[in-house]
């Protein structure tokens, strides 16, 4: 609402996507510069890799949330869906003892399937996305506990499972930069999502739905189908996040996940995607996710007491977004 109601004139100036990216970047760069000056440990390779690794799960979830938010919807279930997919993988690999690729496919399929269900509830039953995905969040949280028997499922019988996120394919080739696979997967997902959003019909409808759903419907487009497709795609991406977190922890932790949706949505919004839909970029979301993890990491490196970390994080999130707004206005 607020966004579309911005003064239409000089103030509501639009800037091109590429330029916006650069601007959002500068908040991130400012943070990096400050932390680098404050601590010599910050810019070391290992720490940079730690930051990237810490971004991977939230980044992937945020990309899923980005798709949904651009349609003007919201997905509160990304966190628990991730967990659900991890648990499904655990069941497939550890309980059933099936081979690794089956587990990978199972996770992504589970995510897509749940996304299909959420999307159908939203599109066909017209339940508002907030409620549909809130309900789904709770359902998945419960089901993960039920399926796993409220115990973590370990992947000790699947050697190589930890390699998905923790191994380094890049490091095997260029030992100097052992970028973990999890980070590469994040970039891969981001690239794919950006491609889908900008180059495919699905992406175009994603924006169109967020811009004016009724106009799209009256253009003869089967909006239900596309909406469901968006939620299903987002669900599949959550499946990837499920693999990442399971691999990082070498286990499916059934109780984890709730609360992660807020970090994901925060990354999306910090990255400049409007909650009222119709506008957004994957690269912005990536930057938003990086801002969050750089902040967390930097404050820890500086040994800031935990209660103050929270205060500073809150303040900087507001300031980062405000700076972005200021810069756009002064264009």
């Amino acid at each position: 609402m607020t966004d579309t109601a911005l003064p239409a004139g000089k103030r509501g100036v639009r800037i091109s996507g590429a330029f916006h990216r650069l601007l959002a970047f500068s908040g991130l760069i400012a943070l990096v510069v400050v932390f680098s000056l404050a601590s010599p440990n910050f810019m070391q390779t290992q720490n940079v890799l730690a930051i990237l690794q810490a971004t991977s799960v939230n980044g992937v979830l945020a990309i899923a949330a980005t798709l949904v938010i651009i349609t003007g919807g919201i997905d509160l279930s990304v966190g628990t869906l991730m967990t659900f997919c991890a648990v499904i993988t655990g069941v497939v690999l550890t309980y059933f003892g099936l081979p690794l690729p089956v587990g990978i496919v199972a996770s992504i399929l589970a995510g897509t399937g749940v996304g299909l269900v959420s999307g159908t509830i939203i599109a066909k039953l017209k339940v508002p996305p907030f409620i549909a995905t809130l309900g789904m969040m709770l359902i998945l949280k419960g089901l993960s506990l039920v399926i796993s028997g409220t115990k973590p499922i370990y992947f000790n019988d699947t050697p190589g499972f930890t390699q998905i996120a923790q191994g380094s394919f890049v490091g095997a080739i260029i030992p100097a930069i052992p970028v973990p696979n999890g980070v590469m997967i994040l970039f891969l997902v981001a690239g794919l999502a950006a491609f889908v959003l900008t180059k495919t019909a699905l992406g175009r409808y994603t924006f169109a739905l967020g811009s004016n759903e009724e106009a799209v419907r009256l253009s003869g487009v089967n909006i239900d189908r596309w909406k469901i497709a968006v939620y299903a795609t987002a669900g599949g991406i959550c499946g990837v996040a499920g693999l990442l977190i399971a691999s990082r922890l070498n286990s499916a932790q059934p109780a984890l996940g709730q609360g992660y949706e807020l970090d994901a949505i925060a990354a999306v919004v910090i990255g400049g995607t409007s909650l009222s839909g119709g506008r957004g970029t994957v690269i912005g979301t990536l930057i938003g996710a990086l801002i969050i993890s750089v902040l967390a990491n930097g404050l820890r490196i500086l040994s800031v007491p935990q209660e103050w970390q929270t205060v500073v994080t809150g303040t900087i999130i507001i300031l980062a977004v405000y700076a972005d707004i200021l810069r756009r206005r002064n264009l």
Binding site: T4, P7, A8, G9, K10, V13, R14, V196, K199, T200, A201, L202, G203, R204, Y205, F207, A208, G210, S211, N212, E214, A215, V216, R217, L218, S219, G220, V221, N222, G278, R279
Partner: protein, 510 residues
């Protein structure tokens, strides 16, 4: 005598667009000064500067001869400048009365409480003075565009401004309502209010205005007295050339196959047993007063609203249409009367809006979009319909109202349907473009397409239609041949109670 307001050398640029350059304008007390120009000429922008919505880049504004700065809508109001915006600016969840008095609600108990009764009473008084039959307590979001427009007018009147700007106030109104509005304008004029009047309906200019200022491409062209200047002169000032006005030619389509047949369509009280058919190559005009149910019929055919009963046949085949998707598949296209809510994805660019109904055509295997082809097509339509936009990647919401409408038309032209329903296709479109659109519709019909045109402008219906269907209160009250007279149409269209109370003074101005 000093002018009420004077605009001197006004300039205004948006990124990529020079909307105004060195524009002059002045308004005397007690005059109606018409502002004319093609779509995108800069009329609305100039008026937004005058009403404090935009800041000017260059030039001076003088109020009563004294230079002033108008920094916000509030300041404009305080200076006695009121405006009816072209794009409705209403709060859809609030009632008509609440909308009209937003920011100036009557209070009680020392200002602590709203006096809802006084609010509704005051609103009723305004409605009465406009001869408008509308409950002050009706939620605005549930009103038709026409009634919303009347609420906007009521709101502007409630300010009792010395300067009243009306940006296309009649775009959504029918003749009776327009007549009523003119009564009001004449009354205000007599009270010494200066009125800026923007409209694309040329006949209104003659009827109501004292002077005419013409703009073209953001520049000032000239100011002429309305009484002594011929319409042709004004039009040529606007478009830079003279327009030919072709006479209606009714082709003989009696042998052509029936493209669309509607049988016994019913939907609540809005559509009652409507049946008609359109042949290939035929233009069927759908006439009627506001609320006659024309839009409802179109939406029901198109599957936008569910229908209670009735059959739809396309090319001799019964088709089950329950969604707009079904309709488009069956070859039916529908251009809505409310472009902002139902026509445009305002946040998307022109190219995407044009391609919105035809994306499948640009989709390559794997879901990939051929953006190059989309650009070419978009540019073709931008040229063909002379859509004024810096590029095909401009966001649709940044176009002038008329150009937005052209984008929606382009969307349906591109979709290439066999049956096209145009609901108020020329709403807010300038004379030049209007005649282009008429040519286009005629050409489409000549190609064999079946066309239904819903229009509240009788001259337009008469100018285009091969046959005219007239509706009243949800019923089809008659079918007239092309070239019928306005009186015949009005006779069929008025077997009902009008939402405007018919009065004698209405006839006087009409």
């Amino acid at each position: 005598m000093d002018a009420l307001i004077e605009l001197i050398g006004i300039g205004k640029s948006f990124p990529g667009v020079r909307a105004l350059h060195n524009v002059n304008f002045d308004l005397q007390a007690g005059e109606v000064h018409a502002l004319m120009g093609e779509n995108g000429a800069g009329k609305s922008t100039l008026m937004k500067i005058l009403s404090g919505v935009y800041r000017r880049d260059a030039g001076d504004i003088r109020l009563d001869g004294k230079p002033v700065e108008i920094g916000s809508p509030r300041q404009a109001q305080e200076m006695g400048i009121g405006i009816i915006h072209q794009e409705l600016a209403l709060m859809r969840d609030l009632t008509a009365a609440q909308n009209i008095f937003i920011g100036r609600e009557p209070r009680q108990l020392g200002g602590w409480l709203l006096d809802e009764k006084a609010l509704n009473r005051a609103t009723q008084t305004i409605f009465d003075s406009m001869n408008l039959k509308l409950a002050p307590t009706v939620p605005v979001g549930s009103l038709t565009v026409a009634k919303q427009q009347m609420v906007e007018i009521a709101k502007a009147l409630s300010y009792r401004s010395r300067i009243l700007i009306m940006d296309e106030p009649t775009a959504a109104l029918n003749d009776a309502e327009i007549a009523e509005l003119f009564v009001i304008i004449n009354r205000l004029k007599a009270e010494g209010v200066g009125i800026v009047y923007i409209s694309h309906k040329m006949d209104e200019i003659k009827r109501i205005s004292d002077r005419v200022t013409v703009m073209r491409d953001g520049e000032y062209v000239g100011t002429v007295p309305a009484a002594t200047t011929s319409m042709e002169t004004i039009i040529s000032m606007m478009v830079g050339r003279t327009l030919s006005n072709d006479a209606l030619v009714v082709p003989n389509t009696s042998a052509a196959p029936v493209a669309l047949e509607v049988r016994n369509l019913n939907r609540g009280r809005e559509i009652r047993d409507v049946s008609f058919s359109v042949r290939q190559g035929e233009i069927l005009g759908l006439a009627g007063l506001m609320g006659a149910g024309r839009t409802e019929v179109a939406r029901a055919i198109f599957g936008a609203d569910p229908r209670d009963s009735g059959e739809i046949w396309v090319n001799g085949q019964r088709v089950g249409i329950s969604t707009p998707g079904d309709a488009v598949h069956a070859g039916i296209g529908y251009l809505s009367e409310d472009r902002k809510h139902f026509g445009l994805a305002t946040g998307m660019n022109v190219r995407n809006n044009i391609a919105l109904a035809s994306l499948a055509r640009f989709t390559r295997p794997g879901g990939l979009l051929d953006d190059g082809a989309m650009r070419k097509v978009a540019e073709r339509y931008i040229g063909q319909l002379s859509i004024k936009t810096p590029s095909d990647t401009q966001e649709a919401r940044l176009l002038s109202g008329g150009n937005q409408q052209k984008v929606v038309i382009a969307k349906w032209l591109l979709r290439d349907c066999d049956i096209l329903i145009f609901d108020e296709p020329t709403r807010g479109i300038d004379v030049g473009a209007k005649s282009e659109i008429y040519k286009l519709l005629i050409a489409l019909a000549a190609e064999g397409k079946a066309i239904i045109v819903i229009s509240s402008e009788l001259p337009e219906v008469l100018r285009l239609s091969h046959r005219i269907a007239v509706m009243c209160e949800g019923r089809l009250t008659g079918m007239l041949p092309g070239g019928a007279s306005q009186e015949e149409i009005m006779h069929l269209a008025t077997q009902r109670q009008s939402s405007v109370i018919e009065t004698t003074n209405q006839r006087k101005t009409a």
